[in-house]
């Protein structure tokens, strides 16, 4: 396997002044983004204190009184916490594997096989389109399929003699429904980044391999897949970092906020929307801080693991 990544090159330690001098152009290149982040991301971070305060708007952020960990307590002592966190984490893991990795790579690989420019364009358009539709529409479409009285699924079921299912009353079907809908929406787009990685492969490699008698599958295994590894590692690390986040539209709008489905569809963000009072920014900030800390641990953890397996793909 030809390694074409340059991060193996290390400078000798102890050459501080030289390191600095050589780094100057890069520091300059990094400055615009770092200043931007300082203004738009770090500056507002003082707001994390809201997690520890009883925020009243008229008192402002600094005038509101400290309440220590009360906002966290509020969050941790609710009865539905286990279920909500469980759902959030499980769905995100499934999405990571099924959509982020499997479909992402699968579609990228098969798209790569298409020679015809016309079909290439056609398929890529099809893959991108769902990503840009709003969940309002996707809800209407799912409803067309799942409506108990007139939806397509029940009509088909009845045509085959089976009894119709009350889709919006039974939580048990919803993990499958949600994974399917999310795949429909996101898989194509996820695969685009993998596809970009494939495009940078030198095609002469394939020619050389097939001259050596390798089948297409073997070529993919030995040439394409390794190209996808960096992207896969990034996907894993970043999705793990945001493991408490959820696509709000997916979990709130698609199940049409049906309370009986909550055991299967209630995740942290929908729970926060429902269970908290209006404008309780303190509790929202507390949850945000909590998820941030856990996300940090996960990112550093997964990065450490990846470092052991294939060091060139780790982020730090």
């Amino acid at each position: 396997m030809i390694s074409r990544d340059n991060s193996q090159v290390h400078l000798k330690r102890g050459m501080g002044a030289v390191r600095f001098k050589q780094s100057i152009p890069y520091i300059l290149l990094s400055l615009p983004a770092m200043i931007y982040l300082a203004i738009f991301n770090y500056w507002p971070m003082f707001g994390i204190v809201l997690a520890f305060k009883d925020y009243k708007i008229a008192h402002g952020i600094f005038g509101s009184r400290w309440v220590g960990l009360k906002n966290f307590e509020y969050f941790f002592t609710t009865n539905d916490l286990a279920r909500v966190l469980g759902n959030t984490i499980l769905y995100n893991l499934v999405f990571l594997v099924v959509i982020g990795l499997f479909f992402g790579m699968f579609f990228a690989l098969i798209l790569y096989e298409i020679r015809s420019k016309f079909f290439n364009k056609l398929y890529q358009t099809a893959m991108l389109l769902p990503f840009f539709l709003s969940y309002v529409i996707i809800t209407a479409i799912t409803y067309m399929f799942l409506s108990p009285s007139s939806g397509f699924l029940n009509t088909v079921l009845q045509a085959f003699g089976a009894s119709p299912i009350k889709w919006y009353n039974e939580p048990v079907y919803w993990p499958f429904i949600l994974v399917f809908v999310e795949s429909w929406k996101q898989a194509g787009f996820a695969s685009l980044y993998f596809y970009s990685a494939l495009l940078s492969i030198d095609t002469s490699l394939f020619e050389a391999a097939s001259l050596d008698g390798a089948s297409r599958i073997r070529q993919i295994w030995h040439i394409s897949l390794p190209e996808l590894r960096p992207m896969a590692c990034i996907t894993i690390i970043m999705r793990l970092g945001s493991i408490f986040g959820s696509d709000f539209g997916l979990f709130y709008q698609i199940p049409m906020d049906q309370a009986t489905l909550y055991p299967a569809t209630d995740v942290l963000s929908t729970y926060m929307l429902r269970g908290l009072q209006d404008g309780s920014f303190g509790t929202t900030a507390a949850i945000g801080t909590f998820t941030g800390v856990v996300g940090l641990i996960l990112v550093l953890g997964s990065n450490a693991i990846i470092k052991k397996i294939s060091p060139e793909n780790s982020m730090f």
Partner: protein, 290 residues
């Protein structure tokens, strides 16, 4: 050489995908030109019973407003991703070069911003009170430009570019900036195009900027303008429920939803052919053989 079987297999799967994608969207188009009353009476039907453009008519009633809003959207959808590429690309390139001794520290600096945020209120306070972005058209172009995700993506792709190319340029006396612009960017067309494209369309669809930061209707972007239309329509409909004597022909709330979505994803269809060329094969990174 190509395996015919494999190509055929790929075609089949991708064709299926096309059907799964295009059929629902076709249905949405059909519903957007249906008659609102038919939907209320008979539910969603794939082939509309009567063709009715009232949803589109309602949206385009005020053409100057639509034109202004489209202008704002175009302005932001082009400027914003450009800035993203500039800001994230420069730092991504710097991070991809091993000679940059402090890159791990910078990475950590970025990582923290990806995981922690001050929240909506502090961000809002700073953006409006200190940066003067309220009712300012710039708010459409300067928010959300730097994300760790994009930086990492770019960094990974840039690090695949052989150092020999970069060294060759340095020997020729080029500055890092020039290298970035003349060598790195052109060689990374697919990823740059991806980020540009997704940034552009994400920006196009996002109406929260107008919702929170704009009250001057001349500065609305198209998406918020459409959302507003939908909100006023449903608001009117609710009110008419109490006062039927004021009801005109059914206000097209359902069909309006569909019409809005079609308008929102039109840009994808229009812009994509231009972006597409960056996704065609042949963008070979092989100017200097290792």
């Amino acid at each position: 050489m190509q395996s015919k079987k494999f190509t055929a297999f790929s075609h089949i799967i991708l064709m299926l995908n096309c059907i799964v994608v295009f059929v629902p969207i076709f249905i949405v188009v059909m519903l957007s030109v249906s008659n609102e009353q038919d939907i209320l009476d008979y539910g969603y039907k794939v082939i509309p019973m009567h063709i009715d453009f009232s949803a589109y008519k309602l949206i385009f009633e005020d053409m100057t407003a639509v034109a202004k809003a489209t202008g704002v959207s175009l302005f932001s959808s082009i400027l914003s991703p450009t800035f993203v590429i500039i800001l994230c690309g420069t730092i991504g390139y710097a991070l991809s070069q091993p000679r940059f001794a402090y890159r791990k520290h910078v990475m950590k600096y970025i990582l923290v911003t990806m995981l922690f945020s001050g929240g909506l209120i502090p961000t809002y306070i700073i953006n409006t009170q200190y940066l003067g972005l309220y009712n300012n058209i710039l708010v459409h172009a300067v928010l959300g430009l730097v994300s760790g995700t994009n930086i990492i993506l770019l960094k990974t792709f840039f690090s695949q570019i052989p150092t020999s190319l970069i060294e060759a340029a340095e020997i020729d006396g080029a500055s890092q900036k020039r290298i970035f612009v003349s060598i790195i960017l052109p060689m990374s067309k697919p990823i740059v195009a991806s980020i540009f494209f997704s940034g552009m369309l994400g920006h196009w669809n996002d109406y929260s900027r107008s919702l929170y930061y704009i009250s001057d209707k001349d500065l609305f972007d198209l998406q918020y303008f459409l959302q507003n239309a939908l909100q006023s329509a449903s608001f009117l409909k609710e009110t008419y429920a109490n006062n039927p004597s004021f009801a005109n022909d059914a206000i097209p709330v359902e069909t309006l939803k569909f019409a809005l979505s079609i308008i929102s994803c039109l840009p994808v269809l229009l812009v994509f052919p231009y972006i597409q060329k960056y996704y065609s094969k042949g963008v070979a990174v092989g100017a200097v053989k290792e």
